[in-house]
Amino acid sequence: MSVGSASLDHAGRSDGVLNADALRADARRQALGLLALLSPGLFVVFALIIVPIGWLFWLSLFDETGELSLVNYARFFEQASYIKTFATTFKVAFVVTGACVLFGYPLAYMLSQLPRRAASICLIFVILPFWTSVLVRTYAWLVILQRKGLINNWLIDLGIIGQPLPLANNFAGVVIGMTHIMLPFLVLPLYASMKTIDVDCLCAGMNLGASPAATFRQIFFPLSLPGLASGVVIVFVLGLGFFVTPALMGGGKVIMWAMRMEQATSLYSNWGAGAALGVVLLAVTLALLSLFQRLLGARATGVWSRR
């Protein structure tokens, strides 16, 4: 194979030392060229993500008078409202992740067992919501769940309930809306990993006398765990920082982490407080992701690269 053809041919006719130099120069040129290709992309990311976040981190270390202090972080432990926000956020993220596993696992399992054509048709039901605006889906759930929404209207018309059920503008509404948005993030990686499970392993189990349930429990389920873990991590992490659905469906009662950040900066112009919240949120997010990566050696961003 002719790597770096021109310079190699040229140097090949000279002695060995010159050849090595030419090769090294060629490799260096190659590396520089690749770096040049990367640089515009890296530059925008650096300028719009790394620089502002570093800046916000710096800001979070000062109090309102400009003195270096940890007051912005101390607040998290002292003020009951912050503690409540964190508790709510983790509670929502846990419940949503649990609901996604509960609904997503059977769906992914079904998709993995269906014939190819049927599976690709059913997959549309997962992919279309995945690419539909979060705002559109949140609006849909508002229409369905609110006081005078579709579900309450139906149930009242059918005479099942007398008073409308509180489904939106509360914890339940946030959980339902977020579960709908997060479900594809769990199903897609889980389905992809289930597809890689060798059917022969399952057949072997059944040949040796295992019942279908035992085969599933002892062979299929353990093999699907890495995919499940990657879905769980991504859903949980995205859930912690979620903004749109709790802001629109929480009715001001469910205050999550990201909403607190928005309030601190937009409403009170308290950059230090908002920045400190952001720094801790980022730290938690990255800690969870790196823990996951260390344990399973896989990247959680895989969900976006397969469709």
């Binding site: 002719s2 690749l34 597809k195 059917v199 990201a258």
Partner: protein
């Protein structure tokens, strides 16, 4: 690998699984279907199915200067984002795929960072930065910010295209005397075009649907459609939004089908 003739379990025994899966699929698709149907309702009340039908919410959408302006802003920004993010992401994917650079893992992580980092933090950070350099409420600012959001999708899409492409073809072209650029544009690019077009479509839709960052950095004459929708939803449930939502759903379907069609050409 076809499961149905390998495992001695009939579809009949699996009925419970299909029922369960079907219910989850219904849960996933029902909201979109309901909104599309509701958008043709003739009444301001939320009735499903609607008792009378009309196009009044579409008239209210297209007839409103504010909604129209916001739509135009969003389209402009999304087109520009696709135009900027696609070459940037393709170039980066090409370099990552070569794999000869050190720190490829770190570079990959950095380029895909915006998928993982809480978007609210990116929104606040971008607003803060733009306040200093005067890019808030500008189209340029929106395009740059959306490019950061769209870049990872282009990188990942093109990278998956490159994985099924044999780079030695480009080497052959170069050994036959083609320059670096000629080899890329005449040999590699034509074979990657499907992934690149898919990447561009994803960039467009990412920008068009982006909410959180736009909430912070757009306003006044550059208010995006999603920002206006978000504010409208905070106030009250205006059925006009059902008509807009239907348009967004149709846009998603069209772009996804296009991406799928292009993907099949590979």
């Amino acid at each position: 690998m076809s499961a149905e003739n390998a495992l001695p379990i009939s579809h009949w025994q699996r009925l419970w699984l299909y029922l369960l899966g079907g219910l989850v699929m219904l849960f996933l698709i029902a909201p979109s279907v309901i909104i599309v149907i509701m958008s043709f309702s003739g009444s301001t009340l939320l009735q499903f199915p609607p008792e009378q039908w009309s196009l009044r919410w579409y008239e209210s959408y297209f007839g409103s200067v504010e909604w129209r302006d916001a739509t135009i802003v969003s389209v402009k920004v999304a087109v520009m984002t696709a135009i900027v993010a696609t070459p940037l992401g393709t170039a980066a994917a090409y370099a990552i795929n070569a794999g000869t650079l050190r720190l490829t893992g770190a570079i990959n992580a950095l380029l895909t960072a915006s998928l993982i980092i809480p978007v609210i933090l990116i929104g606040i950070g971008t607003f803060f930065l733009y306040a200093l350099i005067g890019l808030n409420n500008t189209l340029t600012g929106l395009v740059i910010a959306h490019t950061v959001q769209a870049l990872p999708l282009v990188v990942l899409t093109v990278l998956s295209g490159l994985r099924s492409y044999d780079m030695s073809q480009e080497m052959v072209a170069r050994s036959l005397g083609a320059g670096r650029f000629a080899a890329f544009f005449q040999v590699t690019l034509p074979q990657l075009r499907f992934s690149i077009v898919s990447g561009a479509l994803f960039a467009f839709i990412t920008s068009f649907d982006e909410v959180v960052v736009s909430l912070f950095i757009s306003g006044g004459e550059t208010t995006t459609l999603t920002r206006r929708m978000f504010n409208a939803l905070r106030d009250q449930i205006d059925p006009t939004i059902a008509a807009i939502s239907t348009c967004l759903i149709v846009l998603s379907i069209v772009l996804l089908s296009a991406a799928q069609l292009f993907g099949r050409g590979r």
